[in-house]
């Protein structure tokens, strides 16, 4: 009797193992159905999502044999995609949110030989192309970011954003804003990202060439990062951050900027579209980021909205046809305008609305260097969260600068070893 039960139990476990392995096999890459699954990395109520829907509807009219299933982004887009990749059930097309090269290239079809590739914006070369010139995603936009500001708030404080070229000038402006009873810097602790932006924006101008080379070689250089976090700690002491920092959501910080309750925000320009949804009359612009090591301000940039095709997709050719349609000038222009950024294609143009003046002044002039996102290029994969958490702990006073730098160094070492 006992042996029979044991036999049954063993048989059950074996059957379960078979079931699991069989399910692993059936989870082939790409959609098995007739539809091409497109994970858009655009939130359901965003301007970009509605533009994608319009463009896709036209594509399906012109190509009745190809059906697309659009999926809006969840709050956990990055984790969702990682789970899909790990399970082998990869979407046919998915938004690579800045990581088409460093993180997702092993899963994506190279696109440099596509007919539209000749219009790939060379500004994105360093961020999206590997050493052999391959790139793995169609770039909707070229992410150019600086410090977003509310022009009316700065006017009221007697500050001209064009004159903020050093951190001393920035702090002087923040003091003037604060004297008017307005929060100088709006940032969300609850969103898990905006605090990391501050560190990322500052760090891009805190390291010299030799120190950056050390980082790339896998050694954390702590002194410049200590200066970055000291700056943030100083701003905390000076009460530049919004008092509701810990419970504020990203919507709260955007609303504060659009309603004139805050002066500055360290965010991507896509935030401006969100701000204008709250207050269409808001006078919003962006300015370059002052450097901690030189007198030359810079802009932050790289890949933002870009779509890669799974190299194991069962609809590879149809997916390429769709991407080629998106890359047509009319569609690429519409998508870039919806994203609120410069087009990722040289044959597209975009009316950037209220941001046009800032783009003309700071980007069109070509005077300001475009620095890559610090964490994407100089830190091992997975360090972004540590940047966010350590900046958060300094803003809240939970850690002092030395502890936070120690955490960065420790995680850098572990993750660099893991990447090898």
């Amino acid at each position: 009797m006992k042996s029979r039960v044991l036999l049954l139990a063993a048989a059950s476990v074996a059957a379960a193992a078979l079931l699991v392995s069989a399910s692993g096999c059936s989870a082939g890459s790409g959609s098995d159905s007739g539809s091409i699954e497109f994970q858009t990395f655009a939130s359901v109520d965003s301007k970009l999502m509605s533009t994608i829907e319009e463009v896709t509807a036209r594509f399906e009219e012109e190509n009745p044999d190809i059906d697309l299933k659009l999926v809006a982004s969840s709050n956990n887009y990055e984790a969702d995609i990682k789970v899909r990749l790990a399970s082998g059930n990869i979407p046919d097309i998915f938004g690579t949110h800045g990581w088409s090269l460093q993180r997702y290239s092993e899963f994506l079809e190279p696109l440099q030989d596509e007919p539209w590739a000749k219009n790939f914006n060379p500004v994105l070369d360093s961020a999206m192309k590997n050493d052999t010139g391959e790139f793995f995603a169609f770039p909707v936009d070229t992410d150019v970011a600086g410090i977003i500001y509310n022009g009316d708030v700065l006017d009221a404080a007697g500050v001209d954003p064009a004159e903020i070229t050093t951190w001393e000038a920035f702090e002087k402006a923040a003091d003037a804003v604060k004297a008017n009873g307005i929060t100088p810097i709006s940032v969300s602790g609850k969103a898990g990202g905006p605090s990391g932006n501050i560190a990322d924006w500052l760090a891009a101008g805190a390291y010299d060439e030799s120190q950056l080379a050390e980082l790339e070689a896998g050694t954390f250089v702590d002194e410049p990062y200590s200066e970055v976090l000291t700056k943030i700690a100083d701003w905390r002491e000076a009460e530049y951050f919004n008092p509701d920092y810990s419970s504020a959501t990203s919507d709260d910080m955007t609303r504060a900027l659009s309603d004139g309750q805050a002066a500055f925000e360290f965010s991507q320009n896509s935030r401006v579209n969100d701000a204008l949804q709250y207050n269409p009359d808001a006078n919003i612009g962006f300015m370059p980021v002052p450097s901690m090591t030189t007198d030359a301000p810079y802009l932050i940039g790289g890949e933002m909205n870009a779509y890669g095709i799974s190299k194991t997709s069962k609809h590879l050719e149809d997916a390429k046809t769709f991407i080629a349609f998106l890359a047509e000038p009319e569609n690429a222009t519409a998508l870039a305008e919806a994203a609120g950024n410069l087009p990722g294609m040289t044959n597209a143009t975009a009316d950037l609305g209220p941001l046009q003046e800032s783009f003309d002044t700071y980007v069109g002039s070509g005077e300001y260097p475009l620095m890559p996102y610090f964490d994407r290029v100089y830190l091992p994969n997975g360090m972004w969260n540590t940047m966010v958490t350590t900046a958060d702990s300094v803003i809240t006073g939970q850690s002092d600068v030395d502890q936070a730098v120690g955490q960065m160094a420790s995680d850098f070492k572990s993750l660099a070893a893991q990447d090898k």
């Binding site: 009797m1 029979r4 039960v5 049954l8 139990a9 048989a11 059950s12 476990v13 059957a15 379960a16 193992a17 079931l19 699991v20 956990n76 990055e78 984790a79 995609i81 990682k82 789970v83 990749l85 790990a86 092993e106 899963f107 602790g189 609850k190 898990g192 008092p243 509701d244 920092y245 810990s246 419970s247 504020a248 709260d252 994969n381 997975g382 360090m383 972004w384 969260n385 540590t386 958490t389 350590t390 958060d392 702990s393 803003i395 809240t396 006073g397 939970q398 850690s399 936070a404 955490q407 420790s410 995680d411 572990s414 993750l415 070893a417 893991q418």
Partner: protein, 321 residues
Amino acid sequence: MATLIAPTLPKRNRPKRNRPNGALKPARGIRSPLGGPGINLLYVPALLLFAVFTIYPLLNGIALSFTNWNGYSLERAGVGFDNYVRLFQDDTFRLVLVNTFIYGIGSTIIQQILGLGLALALDRRMRGLNAARAIIYLPVLVSPVVMGTMYYLLFQYNNGAFNDIVTGLGGEKVAWLANADASIAIIVAVNSLQFVGISMIIYLAGLQSIPQMYYEASTVDGASPVQQFRYISLPLLQPAFATSIVLNLIGGLKLFDVIQVLTGGGPGYATNSVSTLIGVAYFDNQSAGYASGMGVVLFLIIVVFTLALNTLLNRRRLEQQ
């Protein structure tokens, strides 16, 4: 779920199960599928589900903890015990381990005190008794994410109910969730209040299983209500204590949802539990192997706590018998 170990007689002392005189032997055709070895087939679906959803993930998680997998890549390599060595050198993990014990033990203590108190208060005939029991139990049915969101709306800085009260009384707004200690206390309180209904129901069932004649006899002997509680209720509630404590402790040690919604583990890492840190390490830091190591350690902690508590509480119960 933990099970209580009941004392068993040695096999040779067990009474034999004799069929009473005149009792009919079950017909062969009926016995074979349901009463004979065929009955074992009924285990198969449960065993299958258990194997697929518990055994396989557990074994897979243990195997992953010996790799450097980043959670999505096609490649991974074995790293031996490196992840476990890293765990015990990691200050953040130590901090989070302490938090986990605070959530587990703190919530358990509060839930036992409140649950027993509520059970005693509601173990009597009174108007609205069923409504009161239902209201206290109701939060158990609510998703912890919803509960966390409700409390977030109470504690948030702008437009939060508590700050509205504070400013209404002439005070300054308080950033309740900016302070790690306050946030930990809030999380323990929210978790305890949500699940106090489970303890209450367990103690209520325990109290109602105590024969009334013990109380009547003690009343005749002149025992006070406090003495009745001390010498009758408490000893006979030992099985209920064991069940309630073990269930609450496991729930507290695995706490995830409320933390995620209320503080997201912040400020910094200060309010994370091991469960939330596993999510951070797996998805954000892209260290699935390391996260799996944390999961294995959490599993072992819960096993050790559960076994120790079961042994301790059962020993006490047997001593009292």
